[in-house]
């Protein structure tokens, strides 16, 4: 009675990185049952292998399709396999691999070692990848949940610890609240356009504007609510209030991974929704998309609040939480720039470059905190890194690299990211917000350099525990941060082929 779509209709080959990861994570969940307690290193290795295979496939297709501007659909257009998807996949997979390396010793010595940790991490990485590949608001929604729900669980992974459980519940309740806004926003967009596919929304938006229908305000409201839902994920002001508490309470190895993965997923989806679904959503009398002014206002507030509050922090996890809010602000400059016609592709590239730089730097910085932290979860204040340079010169040097990169000092990855973001901002004539970005970067130098000062010029015991997977993770992150900083064209070459498939 019905014709069933064949496998070739689904175009599974184009979705290989995600499909392999899904398969690997499911198999790992079963295999882990047969890994005896105390030998969970095997599970961690297998998780790394799954991520590695997926990463290789993603890298291969990234090389393949550099000229992609059109994009290839899979799963009836709900999955978009273009170079943006591959770039997002690469960032997420690198982050997840570093996340596994950072976690292993930490879980072992804090008594949290369970195979499910790695499985949940793989599933949430899959969610982040799918957000970058979304060609439809339905995909955005379910992928967002696949990213978030494992993160809620991982935040509460420290068993019977009030801090960990509190942070998980807080993250969960506010996350579910934000999902509500996202779903209602999707409902309104669907109501205004009759579809949830980005291509259809794009086409319907043009008709709506041509007819000057009052429905465009429904669309505007819907876009605003979707922005709020995704803004929560990336910790943009005013949806940021969960970030410091969750980062401080959750196990540090989880934060190292989640601070990057949630941002990558959230921004990838924002790029898809705004730059693809609603690029031409220009209300009469404006020169740029209707959402642009809102986004840059949020960007400005986010940068100011994140950087100013971070100055007063004494707990390192909390300091990096406010720093991560601030970095969301910088990336939002590039997102806002996508609203100006002709700048969209350059801005999307800037987002990808910034996220890549941020992935190495931020996972690395949290990995150093993992090394400094005691088994009981304490010892994460800035005082605890006093004199670290004497006891652990290599660790302190790595931390210094990460701090300089977060501050955006030249010859680090962070500088390259900021450079491209500010360039996109200026190309889109967003001068005020770009100036705010530069000024707040100067403020941020104070609190990042303060950490370096404490490590090198203050007396203290500065103890740390490093075993080999953690040391590898930190080394890879530090080397990555430096290489991307020394050879900025590595990044821009990778991103050069990124062009969003408008109206596909």
């Amino acid at each position: 009675m019905f014709t069933v779509p064949s496998l070739s209709d689904l175009n599974l080959a184009a979705t290989l990185p995600a499909t392999l990861l899904a398969l690997g994570a499911s198999v790992l969940l079963v295999l882990d049952l047969f890994v005896p307690k105390g030998r969970k290193a095997l599970t961690a290795w297998l998780a790394l292998a799954v991520l590695g295979v997926s990463l290789i496939v993603a890298l291969l297709s990234l090389g393949d399709v550099v000229d992609l501007g059109t994009g290839e659909g899979a799963f009836f257009g709900l999955y978009i396999a273009d170079s943006f998807t591959d770039a997002v996949s690469v960032i997420v997979l690198v982050t997840a691999m570093l996340g596994v390396a950072v976690a292993y010793n930490y879980l072992e010595r804090t008594g949290m070692q369970r195979g499910e940790y790695y499985v949940l991490l793989l599933f949430s990485a899959l969610g982040a990848m799918l957000m970058g590949a979304a060609g439809d608001l339905v995909t955005v929604f379910v992928a967002l949940e696949l990213l978030s729900i494992p993160l809620y669980i991982l935040s509460g992974f420290r068993w019977r610890d009030e801090g960990s459980e509190e942070s998980a519940l807080k993250y969960f309740i506010l996350g579910a609240f934000a999902s509500g806004f996202l779903v209602y926003g999707i409902a309104l967009i669907y109501g205004a356009t009759g579809t949830t596919a980005f291509g259809g929304i794009w086409a319907a938006t043009r008709d709506l504007l041509a007819a000057d229908a009052a429905t465009k305000y429904v669309l505007l409201l819907g876009a605003g609510m979707v922005l709020a839902g995704l803004g929560f994920k990336v910790a943009a002001v005013p949806f940021h209030m969960w970030t410091p508490d969750v980062y401080q309470g959750a196990p540090t190895s989880v934060v190292a991974y989640m601070s990057v993965a949630a941002k990558v997923g959230g921004f990838a989806a924002l790029v898809r929704v705004l730059a693809w679904g609603l690029p031409d959503f220009v209300l009469s009398g404006q020169s740029a998309a209707a959402w642009q002014s809102t986004v840059w206002l949020i960007a400005a507030l986010t940068m100011i609040l994140g950087n100013v509050v971070a100055v007063a922090q004494n707990n390192l996890k909390r300091l990096l939480a406010y720093s991560s809010i601030a970095h969301a602000g910088y990336i939002l400059i590039a997102v806002a720039a996508m609203g100006t016609a002709g700048v969209a592709n350059e801005a999307a590239r800037a987002v990808v470059i910034y996220l890549m730089a941020y992935a190495f730097t931020n996972v690395g910085a949290f990995a150093v905190i993992v090394a400094v932290e005691r088994d009981d979860g304490g010892h994460t204040d800035i005082d605890n890194v006093r004199g670290l340079a004497k006891e652990q010169p290599v660790l302190a040097a790595s931390m210094a690299v990460f701090m300089l990169s977060l501050a955006g000092v030249p010859l680090t990855a962070g500088f390259v990211g900021k450079w491209f973001v500010f360039k996109a901002g200026l190309a889109a004539d967003l001068v005020p917000v770009t100036v705010i970005g530069v000024l707040t970067s100067a403020i941020s130098a104070y609190y990042y350099l303060r950490v370096i000062w404490f490590m090198y010029f203050e007396e203290g015991e500065g103890k740390a525990q490093i075993a080999w997977p953690l040391a590898w993770g930190i080394s890879v992150a530090a080397i990555g941060t430096l290489i991307l900083g020394f050879f900025p064209y590595l990044l821009s070459d990778m991103a050069r082929g990124i062009a969003l498939a408008f109206g596909g």
């Binding site: 729900i149 942070s167 519940l169 609240f177 779903v183």
Partner: protein, 104 residues
């Protein structure tokens, strides 16, 4: 197709009111379970709007979205209630005003 007896606008208006009530519940109630139930109310309000719009457009996209929202809600409930049970065991309370361990 003749105009439906009840206009889509009425359904959407009702759903907006329900959504706002749910949001108020999240912001005002202190019991974690009630906050959570308010989130469910918000999701249901969104679903009602989706179904109303689906009839308006005569396509199934809205219905499918509702279907996925329901499934995701079920997953969220499982995890959320597990968290609430876990935190109750540790703290003997699910009053979210007591969740203020961390301060600036």
């Amino acid at each position: 197709m003749e105009a439906p007896a009840v206009a889509t606008e009425l359904y959407v208006l009702l759903s907006a009111v329900l959504f706002i009530l749910g949001a108020l519940g999240v912001l005002l109630r202190r019991n974690a379970i009630l906050v959570f139930m308010s989130v469910e109310l918000m999701l249901n309000a969104a679903n009602l709007a989706l179904v109303a719009f689906a009839r308006q457009w005569g396509n199934g996209g809205g219905h499918l979205m509702v279907f996925f929202v329901m499934t995701v809600a079920a997953a969220e409930v499982a995890v959320g209630l597990a968290l609430i049970v876990a935190i109750y065991r540790t703290k003997k309370s699910i009053d979210i005003d007591l969740l203020h361990r961390f301060k600036d």
